[in-house]
């Protein structure tokens, strides 16, 4: 069973075909990258996977289950966590609360128990809080737990967003440009962290990334989008030497820089 199986997905915005007949599949436990020039449709592709937009055509299977057209909250419940290209934390909530929101579907407190804060509600809240703290420890943000998310420095916001996605206990984690704005050292730490997630937690990871060094080092396989269409797919080596990919990136020098 594949973690993700997309067949002939298309998404149009008026006349613009943002995602054009894209098919691809991701194996369980894989680190899979989606690359492509600006405006190629990578983020839109993620938005199709997470139900933010339903695809105009095509089908999406998550771990063998057809989720085409389901709303984002249902897809999240299928075990898909994600981060956003332009960080979308809950700014007015604390770091800890952000994680607790991430754990929303795993906190089982019926409404009336919450209203009267019954022993059951207290127990569940306490358990959730402990778990959130452990997760914060894991991403070394525990010392920030009571700060408002919006007050964190950029790098920590990125980390927190990943932690929030992890709080959902995802089977599949989608990261949209996680290394954006990071210096080489931070990027290296990020690479180690992503690999740790896969190796220790067994999470399948799909990432969109412009940093070719990171992509080439970390990915098991890569798909390349251009103008919404998939123009190549394969191992880092195959993609790097693919003439169409070189053409797509030519003039930007990105493919050369990656070598």
């Amino acid at each position: 069973m594949k973690a993700l199986e997309v067949t002939q997905a298309t998404k149009r915005f008026g006349g613009l075909v943002a995602v054009n007949d894209v098919s691809l599949s991701v194996n369980q436990g894989e680190i899979f990258s989606v690359i492509g020039p600006n405006g190629a449709g990578k983020t839109t592709f993620f938005n199709l996977l997470t139900g933010i937009y339903p695809p105009d055509e095509g089908r999406i299977l998550l771990f063998g289950k057809d989720v085409t057209g389901l709303p984002p909250d249902r897809i999240a419940k299928e075990g898909v966590g994600r981060t956003f290209q332009n960080i979308r934390l809950f700014g007015a909530m604390t770091v800890l609360e952000n994680l607790l929101v991430g754990m929303h579907i795993h906190i089982h407190v019926p409404y009336f128990h919450a209203v009267f804060r019954t022993p059951l509600a207290r127990r569940e809240e306490k358990r959730a809080e402990e778990e959130a703290k452990r997760l914060l420890e894991y991403v070394s943000l525990l010392h920030r737990k009571d700060e408002l998310a919006k007050n964190l420095p950029y790098g920590e916001q990125r980390k927190l967003e990943i932690a929030r996605a992890l709080a959902l206990k995802p089977r599949l984690l989608l990261l949209d440009e996680p290394a954006a704005g990071m210096n080489p050292k931070e990027t290296e730490e990020l690479q180690a962290f992503i690999q740790k997630l896969r190796d220790e937690l067994g999470i399948t990871i799909v990432l969109i990334e412009h940093d070719m060094r990171l992509v080439m080092r970390i990915s098991d396989r890569i798909a390349v989008l251009e103008y919404g269409s998939k123009i190549a797919e394969g191992s880092p080596e195959e993609v790097r030497t693919n003439p169409r990919v070189i053409e797509a990136y030519l003039g930007k020098g990105a493919a050369g820089g990656a070598a």
């Binding site: 809950f90 007015a92 609360e97 929303h104 579907i105 919450a114």
Partner: protein, 442 residues
């Protein structure tokens, strides 16, 4: 500096006792300002606040002047917001004000009870609306509709009105009011569902307009459902509405040494009932705020897309916020109907909705003490300050024409306050603090 505030407080205590007059009460308010805003050591500040509590109470008892009530509200605000006052003292002083000072003042001037009850009812509603607007970020301009549904739920069955369409022994006896507080939770939550289902699919301004419209629909229904079958008695309203019997309360008070007369007994009873309800409403508010539901509401307010990607379903979560807010309002509606013994559509106009919203905004969106303070401030302003000011103008400055009577400019003053707030303190009087440190439980 430290001694000054206590000295001023002491001076006011003397004035309140010997020469209670508007001027001396204004002096007391100034002393409170000094205590609250100057840099003082916690001990001196606590001492001054205690002295002022006593002084305002004495002032109220001796003159019945509601400036004293404003002072007490100010002290409550100081107790909730100022740092480094021992928690025990905060609680003790607050309880003394709510349970002793206000009732004592009420015996001197029953209008204080009236104000206290109104503030309480509106505060509870502001707390309900705070869930909807403050936490979940849903702009609801028809909130008074739920207040109306709650009020009519009891008014119809707690009066002869129900005889018009039902067989049976109406009015129901007064003690049924307690049961109807529960029933009103159900009827208003259902109304919330009915209004919310279509409205909550919309966002922002659209939601505001649609809730405004549907809120008006409820009022207009109340106005017109006197024919073909007379459910609501139309614009005349319903009266008399039963109150619960309070012999037990009179006896209880008598054993405590308080002998109540016929005008104050119900006032005191409803004052305590409303106080109890506020306690409950605050408790529920805090509980929800620190639960997965409260967090989901805030998450939706902060970022819908991110919230949905965390597995939070949009419509059900918004509906829940809407119905919760509605239920708070409904319960207070029942109490309102019983306390007034009279219900008519006039109490549930758009202006009422906007006033409650104004209380939430004035106090600080999402802030629990803020909502209560907002309710106190606007209620006192509407019912007391502007009226007193009008009277002052009429008596002292008779050359000013009738048309500029300040009481007629309630909405203008109200609007001005909101505009000034938006300019100088857009986060509200007591902004929401999302710090949980003090919520930590062992």
């Amino acid at each position: 500096m430290n001694a000054l505030s206590s000295l001023l407080s002491l001076a006011y205590l003397g004035l309140a006792f010997l020469a209670p007059s508007p001027v001396s009460h204004l002096f007391g308010l100034a002393a409170l300002g000094v205590t609250a805003f100057l840099r003082l050591s916690p001990t001196w500040r606590t001492l001054s606040l205690a002295l002022l509590t006593l002084a305002f109470t004495v002032g109220l008892m001796r003159s019945g002047n509601t400036l004293g009530l404003i002072g007490l509200v100010g002290i409550l605000v100081a107790l909730t917001t100022l740092p480094r006052i021992p928690t025990g003292i905060r609680v003790l002083l607050a309880l003394a004000i709510l349970l002793l000072s206000v009732p004592l003042a009420g015996f001197a001037n029953t209008f204080v009870f009236e104000l206290g009850i109104q503030i309480g009812i509106y505060a509870a509603m502001a707390l309900g609306l705070n869930v909807v607007v403050g936490m979940a970020g849903l702009l609801d301009l028809g909130y008074a509709a739920f207040f109306a549904v709650g009020a009519y739920t009891w008014a119809i069955f707690g009066s002869e009105q129900a005889k018009n369409f039902l067989q049976g022994n109406f009015p129901l006896p007064g003690e049924y009011m307690y049961l109807f507080m529960g029933i009103a939770i159900v009827t208003t939550a259902l109304t919330g569902l009915l209004i919310g289902l279509p409205a909550l699919r919309l966002r922002g301004d659209y939601l505001a307009i649609v809730t405004l419209g549907l809120g008006e629909v409820v009022r207009i229904l109340a106005n017109n459902l006197d024919h073909p079958i007379n459910f609501t008695n139309g614009p005349q309203g319903i009266t008399p509405v039963q109150r619960p019997p309070i012999d037990w309360f009179r006896q209880l008070m008598a054993t405590l040494g308080v002998h109540l007369d016929r005008t104050t007994d119900y006032q005191l009873f409803f004052y305590f009932l409303v106080l109890l309800m506020i306690g409950l409403v605050v408790l529920v508010n805090v509980n929800l705020a620190n639960s997965r539901f409260g967090r989901a509401w805030v998450a939706i307010r902060e970022d819908e897309v991110a919230a949905r990607s965390m597995g939070i379903p949009l419509l059900p979560t918004k509906l829940l916020a809407f119905m919760t807010g509605a239920a708070f309002s409904g319960v207070m509606g029942v109490i309102f109907a019983a306390q007034r013994t009279f219900v008519s559509p006039e109490s549930f106009t758009l202006l009422a909705s906007i006033t409650i919203l104004g209380m939430v905004i004035l106090g600080g969106m999402g802030s629990i003490p803020g909502a209560i303070l907002g309710a106190a401030a606007l209620t006192i302003l509407n019912l007391d300050v502007l009226k007193t000011f009008s009277e002052f103008v009429r008596i002292s400055l008779p050359q000013i024409p009738n048309q500029v009577d300040p009481a007629k400019y309630e909405r203008l003053v109200f609007g001005l306050i909101l505009v000034l707030m938006m300019i100088f303190r857009p986060e509200g009087l007591i902004p929401e603090k999302r710090h949980r440190a003090e919520m930590e439980e062992a």
